[in-house]
Symmetry: C2
Subunit: 349 residues, 2 copies
């Protein structure tokens, strides 16, 4: 990547906005010296925060708006009435080529509705999906969809497989990612129609990665495959179950270490090693869900994250942009369509 790269930031989105957004941008600035930040938000609140960081102030611009999308606003309302909101102005800046991607910690449904409305989906992609990566026993894997499409047909799942594959190559740096379809068993006869039909198409397809077949819930944390494909209902529940169970285990562990004096001493000795574990499973490391399948890069940060987490969400956007991920999705999808003339998608075009 040469030259500078602009990222549009919704300064008012998230539980601790605009503080976390500005401090997160400042961390990201140190990591990515060639990135410039376009903030959108309330000047009276955002400007003094940016001014605290001299280098950030130099690398930033701020466009004022006193409108924002509320956390509980319906996506349809946000789309209709939020045209001057900080979220929408950040999206519009990308569409106007002033920035290469947008990051927001605000209302997920509104961000998806607005991004889809403004950016439109890539050619041949019916619906965008939300994708994120997470820690496994082997390293890191990506899962999609995480909630954009609660009910999916076989075509949707096949498209998610292609997009997830590109994400694994560009953001996780995996040369030849393996892809698995989430199901209730690994045998071909298992599951409902959508997963069985999607598996049949993927088995007959040449992808840049490898189709592993069906995977089950326990394969998610095990890291059996690099990309896990599922509908948005199941994916949302599964990723939150993984996060919740990690927290549960950490809490059980904390209680165990506090249960006796000897256990406490043991904890003190093991602490450096345990801190490595904490870092490895730190949800801030995995912050930044990307909306895949749109003509531009939109990244959603957790609403409750801190500055480090927000900086990581910016990092996901930077990776996607600097690796030309969207071009890769376009190319792979065109190749898939050309090589699979009997796929249902082609019939539908």
């Amino acid at each position: 990547m040469t030259g500078s790269l602009n990222i549009a930031l919704d300064a008012m989105g998230g539980d601790n906005a605009p503080e976390v957004v500005v401090r997160g941008a400042n961390i990201a600035r140190q990591r990515f010296p060639n990135v410039r930040f376009l903030f959108f938000g309330d000047e009276g609140r955002v400007k003094p925060l940016i001014a605290r960081h001299k280098a950030l102030a130099k690398a930033s611009s701020l466009q004022h708006t006193d409108k924002l999308v509320a956390a509980d606003e319906r996506p349809s309302t946000a789309l209709r009435a939020g045209r001057n909101s900080s979220m929408r102005l950040a999206i519009d800046a990308v569409q106007a080529k002033e920035a290469a991607g947008v990051v927001s910690a605000g209302n997920t449904g509104a961000l998806m509705a607005m991004s889809k409305f403004v950016f439109k989906t890539l050619p041949g992609i019916d619906r965008p999906a939300i994708a994120s990566f997470y820690p496994t026993l082997r390293g890191e894997s990506v899962m999609l969809d995480l909630g954009a499409n609660l009910v999916c047909d076989a075509d949707n799942l096949v498209q998610f497989a292609i997009m997830g594959n590109v994400f694994a190559r560009t953001v996780l740096g995996i040369h030849r990612p393996t892809v698995g379809l989430l199901n209730v068993g690994s045998e071909e006869v298992k599951g409902h129609e959508a997963v069985r039909d999607a598996a049949a198409v993927l088995r007959a397809t040449s992808m840049p990665g490898e189709f592993h077949g069906f995977v089950e819930g326990d394969d998610i944390a095990r890291g059996t495959v690099d990309v896990i494909v599922t509908d948005g209902f199941t994916g949302n529940v599964a990723l939150k179950t993984l996060e919740g169970t990690t927290k549960l285990y950490a809490e059980f562990l904390r209680r165990s270490f506090k249960s006796s004096l000897v256990a406490r001493i043991g904890y003190l000795l093991a602490r450096p090693a345990l801190n490595a574990l904490r870092v490895r499973t730190d949800p801030r490391r995995y912050n930044g869900a990307i909306f895949l399948g749109l003509n531009s890069v939109a990244v959603k940060s957790h609403g409750g994250t801190d500055a480090l987490g927000f900086a990581n969400a910016i990092g996901v956007a930077v990776d996607m942009i600097s690796q030309n991920s969207l071009d890769k999705i376009r190319d792979d999808f065109a190749r898939f369509l050309a090589g699979n003339p009997t796929s249902p998608q082609v019939v539908g075009l």
Copy 2:
């Protein structure tokens, strides 16, 4: 409970049958002195195993068959061709009132198909569900369905809620269980039609427990509610995700403790406390999934469990039977129908 209680056992089901089944029964016999065991399986293999335990031999009978249901057999094949299998004979013994319930570690789909065919569903229940309990931060909760019904409508989910409530009262001993519907968000507008419609019915219903509303994936391990209701696809994935993540964390922990000499010493000091954690999350403790909604008690043990795990599956059957759980489901469901004249279920009857 007075007098004795007979449990029919499929001696040939499971990865390590018949050894694990016989040794599991021997552990259960010590816990439940008034239980008698009816074994079904290959006499040449099972009889010598039972003979090793004198007290068990006294409390047991054995009916010979050299037929069994293979682990990879299709449910439809098992139903048609498995009439003399150890699994089917155990089920038939319950139907003939020779036993009060059946336990098998064999093929789940075959056990469900046969149990449903022989026992039939309770009045008003459209489809049986698979339910199991698991450890949470607060204690223990139950989740259903875990894979019997991959696609569910609102009626199915409402019926699962009533059945899961009875399970929580009888097996977990919770006086007034709280019930949550698994969804991708907690607000009323979230989710697909089936969960929104089911929530509307449950909100308007008087149950012996309390309807909490929607819960999310991270509420599963947190123990936000005592009963989690969902379709079989999502439930299967979520429970396996929880189990897989627990294993992942334990493995991360093991590696951390081995990473340095000081960490190893810390581990040795903390070991007694950590063992308590291991016991708390031991999957054998939570072995025994029940098929709820049938006219008799059928319990499925994990195929790969050991004797202790199999004994716990027998324990679930004994609890269900001795607490008259099926009568409670019948009563609660009749009361639900009487009190909810506008529910879709009533219209359908």
